[in-house]
């Protein structure tokens, strides 16, 4: 619009000069010309027709004046253009999608997030369709909102709303806002489930102990008594495991990683492999120890890492079929995914080591991958309890990795297997050599 204005201004200016040249010398034409120029400049002092208040009579004066008017117009246009660009960039920074339409329903402004959502052709196209409908009713003066739930994976919850944009007396168009509520909904769900799961996990064994001891009191048969006592012992073990894990988790959460030391990767993985070799043999799973040629060294808290990698190996063994393999490995990884050879040996560039635990087990359903790190969250409740897990193992893993500033990545497919990758900071001195 601004560009069009400038073009009109330029055309007008040329026309004015032409007219000026033609009518030169005729004072009435000069007067009219003066009025036009004044009006064009938006000069409040512009004389109305019939008012001969003109102080610029020579052609040179008029041209000079016209030049200044043109310069001002260009500056105004430039400012408006910058203003528009500023608004657009600011809108792009918003965490919500915004679309503005005029009274005919033509889009006159939208931010990057809105463009992305509106141009989707997968399930997200439902958001675009909903926004189009809401904008239509908003143009008729109706403010409405709606929640669009997409199954995914990953699941998304998008709240969309349309609002009329009206001046004092008439409608100017409508605006629609798209807000991603996925995270909020997820957090609510996690909180709700945590309380329910925690009470369930603690109550089940305690309730069992109460019942078993009641039965024990009225039981005379020595064989049955022994069995009941064993069961009570097992349930007590389960409670104590859960409490141990809870304490471990809160310790990991509270203290962060206090003892940062040099941790060579190969001995670390070997120790874990050794620790779980008996467990693996019981499940008829072969634990394939690391074959890491390079001398990788982590800068980390060794005992926390032992725990984290151990939890992963424990899970991998538990959820593998007999006869399959669990692989432990490690590889250097630069922060920006370049091969290590291309990364300059820059001191302040953090180098990373990926510690990988891969199994050929049952895998995790695609819609559960985001939830398995939650406390007490279980994919298959019956199986998980039967295998003796506390439901806290992966929460501990995630916290340990977070303490080191790294990240956990999870790749899985049901029936194919699961691969956990822990990206952890490498020891700086070694990394640069």
């Amino acid at each position: 619009m601004i560009a069009a204005l400038v073009a009109v201004a330029a055309a007008l200016a040329v026309a004015l000069v032409a007219v000026l040249l033609l009518v030169r010398g005729r004072s009435s034409a000069s007067e009219r010309l003066g009025r036009v120029v004044h009006r064009f400049a938006g000069d409040p002092e512009a004389p109305r027709p019939g008012e001969a208040r003109l102080d610029r009579n020579s052609l040179d004066d008029w041209i000079t004046y016209l030049e200044s008017v043109a310069t001002t117009a260009a500056m105004t246009a430039n400012l408006a253009e910058r203003d528009r660009a500023r608004w657009q960039l600011a809108m792009n920074e918003l965490a919500v999608g915004v679309v503005l339409v005029d009274e005919d329903g033509t889009v006159c402004a939208s931010n990057a997030l809105a463009d992305e959502m509106m141009s989707a052709r997968d399930a997200m196209a439902l958001v675009g369709a909903g926004v189009t409908q809401l904008l239509e009713s908003a143009r008729e003066g109706q403010a409405r909102s709606r929640t669009v739930k997409l199954t995914g994976p990953p699941p998304r919850v998008i709240e969309i709303s349309g609002h009329p944009v009206a001046g004092d007396s008439h409608a100017l168009g409508a605006v629609a806002v798209m807000a991603d509520r996925t995270e909020g909904v997820r957090v609510d769900e996690v909180r709700r489930d945590f309380v329910a799961n925690l009470s369930h996990e603690l109550r089940t064994p305690v309730g069992a102990i109460a019942l078993l001891s009641e039965t024990l009191a009225g039981e005379d048969d020595a064989a049955v008594r022994t069995r009941l006592v064993d069961r009570i012992g097992a349930e007590a073990d389960r409670v104590s495991h859960i409490i141990d894990d809870l304490l471990e988790l809160s310790r990991v959460e509270l203290e962060g990683s206090m003892r940062q030391e040099s941790v060579p990767v190969v001995p670390l993985l070997c120790e874990v492999a050794h620790q779980y070799s008996e467990h693996a043999r019981k499940h008829d799973v072969s634990l394939v120890s690391p074959d890491v040629a390079e001398q990788l060294v982590l800068h980390a808290d060794r005992s926390q890492l032992l725990r984290a990698v151990g939890n992963l190996v424990d899970n991998a063994i538990k959820y593998s079929d007999p006869g399959s393999e669990v692989h432990l490995s490690a590889a250097p990884r630069a922060l920006d995914d370049r091969p290590p050879s291309e990364v300059p040996a820059d001191a302040d560039e953090q180098a990373w080591v990926d510690v990988v635990v891969a199994d050929e087990g049952i895998g995790i359903p695609a819609d559960e991958t985001e939830r398995v790190f939650e406390r007490f969250y279980r994919v298959d409740k019956a199986r998980a309890r039967a295998t003796g897990g506390t439901g806290l193992g992966l929460s501990i893993v995630r916290h340990v990795v977070m303490n080191h500033g790294g990240e956990v990545m999870l790749q899985t497919r049901e029936g194919v297997g699961t691969t956990f990758t822990l990206r952890l900071p490498a020891e700086q001195d070694r990394a640069s050599t």
Binding site: A120, R121, D122, A125, T132, G152, E414, G415, V416
Partner: protein, 235 residues
């Protein structure tokens, strides 16, 4: 056509295009939702999906009416005519995909009590992923009038076909091992077929887009051969 009529005409055509993209979105969401219901054995969720198909049917009828209106009142020619004919064919392709989603949803109740093995579950998930991808890319090709993208769809469908074959083998292997009954195995096999058919419809959409952009259909090759044979017979 006067300027005003032309604008109205194109506005209506744009509306049909938006309706079709929305229908594609409904099918993509339907595939995801029905797969989740199938894997969770969620019969209530499946019933909701069956009910949601009515909306797709309504939308497809509305879009069809718009197309008929365009044809009857404006008598379009050339690319406009081709667009409307493509739209009409697309509506039935997408509507049919929606029916297939409903069919899967109906199978959820029949599969009640079946313990699916991880391998079968994983393959269902991969077929879901591929079917959603195919549907979304077909709609991309349509909305962007991208004939190049359309030709990619065929290769993507081959992946789905391979997954389908692998899945059928896995289902019957699972039956052999006594994990699922023969009734459930047959039901699962039929479900796999529905996923595979959704991919075929996406390929049909893409072929229609190719026709829209280039005026050529893959069937033209075969049709030309048949025509040549017929002419030879007549000589």
């Amino acid at each position: 056509m006067t300027e005003e009529v032309r604008t109205e005409f194109h506005q209506l055509m744009d509306e049909v295009r938006a309706d079709l993209v929305q229908m594609g979105g409904m099918v993509a969401e339907g595939i995801s939702a029905v797969s989740a219901a199938l894997l969770a054995g969620d019969i209530g969720g499946a019933d909701q999906i069956i009910a949601a198909d009515d909306e797709l049917d309504l939308l497809s009828l509305e879009a069809e009416e718009k197309c008929v209106q365009l044809l009857a009142l404006q008598q379009p020619v050339a690319v406009d005519l081709r667009t409307i004919l493509t739209d009409l064919r697309m509506i039935s392709e997408i509507e049919r995909s929606g029916d297939l989603v409903t069919n899967i949803a109906k199978a959820v109740a029949r599969l009640h009590g079946a313990e699916l093995e991880p391998r079968v579950r994983g393959l269902i998930d991969r077929m879901r992923e591929q079917a959603v991808k195919l549907t979304a890319r077909a709609m991309d090709a349509y909305a962007e009038r991208d004939a190049g993208l359309a030709s990619v769809l065929n290769d993507m469908d081959d992946v789905l076909d391979d997954l389908h074959n692998e899945y059928i083998v896995a289902v019957f292997a699972s039956h052999e091992l006594g994990k699922i009954s023969i009734q459930h195995a047959v039901q699962l096999a039929v479900v796999g077929r529905f996923y595979e058919r959704i991919g075929d419809h996406a390929v049909n959409v893409a072929e229609r887009v190719e026709f829209l952009v280039t005026g050529e259909l893959p069937e033209h090759l075969g049709a030309n051969r048949a025509r040549a044979r017929r002419e030879q017979d007549e000589m």
